[in-house]
């Protein structure tokens, strides 16, 4: 897939609570091909302390309206600057970057997409793609409390949604790995979220011999495989999260699980 550097125009900036927001970019021309699990490298100018681009997952692609959606959490100067983007602002991005989630085999029908916090971002695009391909994805979404759950309406359009919150304010109380849905048969898990969550999910998957793909968020400089900064240790040595990933089969990774 050919990568490109695109100047995209902000068409919406929707605040989702205190710390998250959804950016939409719209253009006249069709968007380049993008796959679920891929990400973009956003160039951020004029934010204090921001020098490098910022990697953000593709949250959704609307091919009819040529819309690209990014779901972002404010954690530092870069994402704070992004939260201030206004309709009409131009933002340069490199895209599409990275590999993608792999499509399930015909035989795999019970698919669970497990997301925590802003890690749900790539799962919306993956869910919609799965549904388009005739699968019936299920979503298990975790947050600290009800306020941290985002895009529930969108997820509900794509499949069943299960919820955990740490404080019990919505869904089952506890961590995603404690949800009762995990007691039912599952053929494949896709997960993205905080590393401890993904490790717990991967541990569960390994224990139950379920295929599991995780999407990593290592720190990046180039995002295109040139600098070797973003590596993760795998069974076959260091691999670049920006090109060999961000999606890895959990068995490939050298996680202490």
């Amino acid at each position: 897939m050919k990568k490109c550097s695109l100047d995209m125009v902000v068409s919406a900036n929707i605040s989702l609570g205190d710390s998250h927001f959804l950016l939409k970019f719209t253009q006249e021309e069709p968007l380049p091909e993008m796959l679920p699990g891929q990400f973009v490298q956003v160039r951020i100018d004029n934010a204090p302390s921001v020098f490098l681009r910022r990697p953000i997952s593709v949250n959704y692609v609307d091919r009819v309206n040529n819309e690209l959606w990014l779901l972002v959490q404010k954690v530092g100067d870069g994402t704070r600057k992004m939260s201030e983007y206004k309709i009409g602002d131009t933002v340069n991005m490199l895209l599409p970057l990275g590999n993608s989630f792999t499509m399930p085999k015909e035989s795999q029908s019970r698919l669970l997409l497990v997301g925590g916090g802003v890690g749900i971002a790539p799962l919306l695009f993956m869910g919609s793609t799965l549904k388009q391909e005739g699968f019936e994805p299920m979503f298990l979404l975790g947050a600290r409390s009800e306020g941290g759950l985002m895009q529930l309406d969108e997820f509900k359009k794509l499949g069943k949604v299960y919820i955990t919150t740490e404080d019990g304010s919505a869904g089952e109380k506890g961590f995603v790995t404690q949800h009762s849905i995990l007691q039912e048969p599952i053929d494949m898990i896709y997960t993205c979220g905080p590393t401890p969550m993904m490790q717990a999910v991967a541990r569960f998957a390994q224990y139950k011999s379920i295929d599991c793909e995780v999407s990593l968020e290592n720190k990046m400089a180039c995002g295109i495989g040139a600098c070797l900064c973003c590596v993760t240790q795998t069974q076959t040595g260091h691999k670049c999260v920006c090109t060999d990933g961000p999606v890895f089969n959990s068995k490939e990774l050298s996680w202490q699980i």
């Binding site: 050919k2 990568k3 490109c4 550097s5 160039r43 302390s49 921001v50 020098f51 490098l52 681009r53 490199l94 290592n218 720190k219 990046m220 400089a221 180039c222 995002g223 295109i224 495989g225 040139a226 600098c227 070797l228 900064c229 973003c230 590596v231 993760t232 240790q233 040595g237 260091h238 090109t243």
Partner: protein, 318 residues
């Protein structure tokens, strides 16, 4: 209309200044190259730019044997720059010869292999293997990697060490030999002279400045190796000063780098005495920056009425 446009481009081209430079035996179509470790072997950038537009590519650091590099995290952002501690991850020279070289040798630009090592024997053995490759006109001897215990920085920080390794490699390598200098030294000009005396055809500088970053909240270093190499615009003033000092001290051409983000930065290096420049970290911010720098240099020379890049090399007006 189309024809007209074309004609005017043609016309513009004919009045463009001559950007060609020569380093050792190597002719460069223009003095803009990309820095080792920031540009892979070029292939990561082909979607964003035409490699044929730049003067050359310095490859990832290559060692005699496969190296896994340092553990993650290897990178930290700093004010106007970044620290890296990649630690020379690469698949070794034999893999380069068998699997990478065949793919890149037809690129319409000069490919120079950056050679790193821990011992003189390693440097020599690696250089010898590259000597046999037709389409590699030069190597860049990295005696200045701050990120691995035996990354050559031990050679690069003393005149004697630098001279010793260059002498050995010079015997084994017959083509253009560029030596990449460490900025983490008291007197870079003497080290440049020492390697010139041993037959280096050119020196490139600067490699990264040794730095460190800490997360105050977790109290942990931000790099697995604690210290790493600083690059980007923050180092430009130091790089420019060293290029100026070295260019005054040696007769061989100097390749300048360190924090170049645009054509204006590049021109500052030429004025300070560099015959060619390398672009490193800037590629991460804009993967097409090197071509824009070529265009910007052309524009500058035209605007100031210079007919050749050599008109501004070392032309600082004091």
């Amino acid at each position: 209309m189309r024809v007209h446009r074309w004609t005017s481009i043609q016309f513009k081209r004919t009045i463009m200044a001559d950007l060609r430079v020569k380093i050792g035996a190597v002719e460069f179509k223009n003095p803009v190259t990309t820095a080792s470790g920031t540009f892979g072997f070029g292939e990561e950038y082909v979607d964003f730019m035409d490699l044929g537009r730049i003067g050359g590519i310095f490859t990832k650091g290559t060692t005699i044997l496969h190296r896994e590099g340092n553990a993650y995290p290897r990178m930290a952002e700093t004010p106007s720059g970044m620290l890296n501690a990649v630690g020379l991850q690469n698949k070794g020279i034999d893999y380069f010869v068998s699997s990478i070289y065949p793919q890149i040798k037809e690129y319409d630009t000069n490919i120079m292999v950056n050679v790193s090592g821990s011992t003189i024997e390693d440097y020599v053995a690696t250089a010898e293997k590259i000597n046999a490759l037709d389409k590699i006109p030069a190597i860049e001897l990295n005696i200045s990697c701050p990120n691995v215990k035996q990354g050559g920085m031990t050679f690069g920080v003393s005149c004697a060490g630098a001279a010793e390794v260059v002498k050995a490699v010079r015997k084994a390598y017959s083509k253009t030999l560029i030596v990449k200098l460490s900025p983490n030294v008291t007197d870079i000009a003497s080290i440049a002279k020492a390697v010139e005396d041993e037959g280096a055809d050119s020196v490139s500088l600067i490699n990264t400045l040794l730095g460190m970053a800490i997360d105050a909240e977790t109290r942990k270093p931000l790099l697995s190796t604690v210290t790493g190499g600083l690059s980007g615009p923050c180092v430009k003033p130091v790089a420019l000063r060293m290029v100026w000092q070295v260019a005054k001290a040696v007769k061989i051409p100097v390749i300048g780098l360190g924090g170049i983000m645009n054509a204006t930065d590049a021109i500052e290096f030429f004025l300070a005495g560099a015959t060619a420049i390398q672009i490193g970290t800037a590629n991460f911010i804009d993967p097409a920056v090197s071509v824009k720098v070529v265009d910007g240099i052309n524009e500058y020379l035209d605007r100031h009425g210079y007919s050749s890049i050599y008109d501004i090399i070392g032309a600082l007006d004091m």
